[in-house]
Amino acid sequence: MHLSTHHLKRAYSTMRRIREFEERVNAEFAAGHIPGFVHLYSGEEAIAVGVCMHLEVDDYIGSTHRGHGHCIAKGCDTTGMMLEVFGKADGLCGGKGGSMHIADLARGMLGANAIVGGSPPLVVGAALANKTRRTDRVAVAFTGDGGCNQGTIFEAMNMAVVLRLPAIFVIENNGYGEGTGVDYAVGSKDIAGRAAGFGMPAVAVDGSDFFAVHEAMGAAVARARSGAGPSFIEARCVRFHGHYCGDPQTYRSKQELADARQLHDPIAAFRERVLAAGNLTEAEFSSIDEEVLRDIDAAAAAAHRSVPPSVSSLTTGVYSSY
């Protein structure tokens, strides 16, 4: 185990925070308190955290419609996020974005993105800005296995290779693009192998294993920061919830759904491994659990308390000047 106790605590705490956030959002959505469409990240926490543990505040990430985990891992304030998901005035985007458009440029978070495959070209642009300014900052594009079939990511990968940009493409392969299985939708059945054809290092890792993701990302970040160009990581994982909150998931068997949390929980696996190695104690884990739960309770309470945006804000913020 190559991480310090401090880093192990941080990794666990961030994964735990994502899980508690998502499960609370799920409950609040079911109770009718959250408008719109919500897509939950539970089961995929090891990817966002394994990747973002390598990033500084001024590195950039671009996200997907399933973006809460990326936001939290990149350091976005969970109360500001909860308020945004509730559509409140003091949400991170003033209630104008919602779950699918949470962004926080000050944290290097370029936005959740409700267009599947929408974000990789933008991330390549952030990588270009980093390179043009001669910094060693990097930019990471999260996409799903559904998004990996979009032409936008092929164009983005080629551009990143051609211009040798500090970009990292992370494909979260959770097995389903909405309700369609990855082995049906990806002709070659090998996402990482296909990416290698663009001319960059491409690996496939177990996305339920924080340490595997963390190690793969370490190599990709080092390569990008050194000016050697982009890399590609396919992280295979299991989505606990449906495509969206309320999805009846008729396309998955009951057995598969039961197995998801039992056999593929990245947080349980992390805890078990770290306990076995004697790096953290049960008491330390429990103390983190309690702290995270307090924060999420407070965020949800604040979201219930706070006011919606003033109708006068409807027409503001379209342009800088007009």
């Binding site: 440029l105 929408g118 983005a156 551009m159």
Partner: protein, 337 residues
């Protein structure tokens, strides 16, 4: 004042802004003159030669040749704009928005609003447009009404070398995404252009001719068609005001309405297809805000509701002519109420 071409005016604007601000970069196909070939660098400057000579001064890190990959060109420029650069992306023909529209429509146009007004996206997308080169249905369209429809975008359409320079400088300095459209038939047009830098604000129409009988509103190449029509009308005793809005978003409604309060008659000349066009928008604005001033129905002179044809005979019939503008103006002169 030096006489230079529309093409050179654009080149001057790009050069001046790149000297002024190191965050300005140019991204597109062949903009640095092509890469990876066996010929010389910097002799081409893109298909219209607008960026010729810039890579020699600013280098390939700021004048960036890309593959033919419009989603990545526009998307990369949008992402770079979001993170501190001030990119000018070149789409070549505006018809190619079909292969990158998402990055414009759903991404860069909406960032500021979706993200709560907290971000700037200083992006310019340059593209050429318009019929007249027998380039066929996929290289000749006027799609400015598409962009004008989208909140978050600004849409700018110069008609003279002077306006081309001043509006492009403004576009590069602007903190919002600007779609900057250049009519293919205007690149060789010459005009007086100051050698120093100047910015022309958006939303300020240019009144090119003053007349008390009829108001003619026209964009881009149609401004010159309208000016010729105004000459022909003057020979028949009808005096026309010719207004070039210069930007369709924002649109200077007041200059059009002011003129209408004097003339009471409006002809709009628009090279694009008529349905949901900028001509339709201007007609709607006038019908709503100046109904009392109107002495005659509003007339739109536009292309027909067809793709742009290839054969020169058909293309000539497609493009609105000065004769058609004269006929429309004489028609509205025949009304009274």
């Amino acid at each position: 004042m030096p006489q230079i071409s529309f093409r050179q005016a654009l080149n001057d604007a790009l050069r001046a802004e790149m000297r002024r601000d190191p965050a300005v970069v140019i991204i597109g196909e062949d903009v640095a003159g092509g890469a990876g070939g066996t010929g010389v660098d910097d002799a081409y400057g893109g298909i219209m030669g607008v960026t010729r000579g810039l890579v020699g001064e600013f280098g390939r890190e700021r004048v960036i040749d890309t593959p033919i990959t419009e989603s990545a060109i526009v998307g990369m420029a949008a992402g770079a704009a979001l993170t501190g650069l001030r990119p000018v992306a070149e789409l070549m023909f505006v018809d190619f928005i079909g292969v990158c529209l998402d990055q414009i429509l759903n991404q860069v146009a909406k960032f500021r609003y979706m993200f709560g007004g907290n971000v700037k996206t200083p992006l310019v997308i340059r593209a050429m447009f318009g019929a007249g080169f027998n380039a066929g249905a996929q290289h000749s369209q006027c799609l400015y009404s598409f962009f004008t429809h989208v909140p978050g975008l600004k849409v700018v359409i110069p008609s003279t070398p002077y306006d081309a320079k001043g509006l492009l400088i403004q576009a590069i300095r602007d903190d919002d995404p600007v779609v900057f459209l250049e009519h293919t038939k205007l690149y060789d047009q010459e005009g007086e252009v100051p050698s120093e830098s100047y910015a022309i604000p958006f939303g300020e129409a240019n009144v090119l001719r003053d007349g008390g009988d009829v108001t003619i509103v026209a964009l881009a190449r149609m401004v010159h068609v309208a000016l010729k029509a105004a000459d022909l009308l003057a020979s028949k005793g009808v005096e026309a005001t010719v207004i070039d809005p210069r930007s369709t978003s924002p649109l200077d409604e007041d200059t059009i309405l002011d003129s209408l309060s004097a003339t009471g008659r409006l002809v709009i000349v628009d090279e694009s297809n008529p349905r949901c066009s900028v001509a339709s928008e201007i007609a709607a604005v006038v019908a709503e805000r100046a109904f009392r001033d109107l002495k005659a129905p509003i007339r739109r002179v536009t292309a027909p509701h067809t793709p742009v044809p290839f054969s020169p005979v058909l293309e000539e019939a497609y493009i609105p002519s000065s004769d058609a503008v004269v006929a429309a103006a004489l028609d509205v002169m025949g009304w009274s109420r």
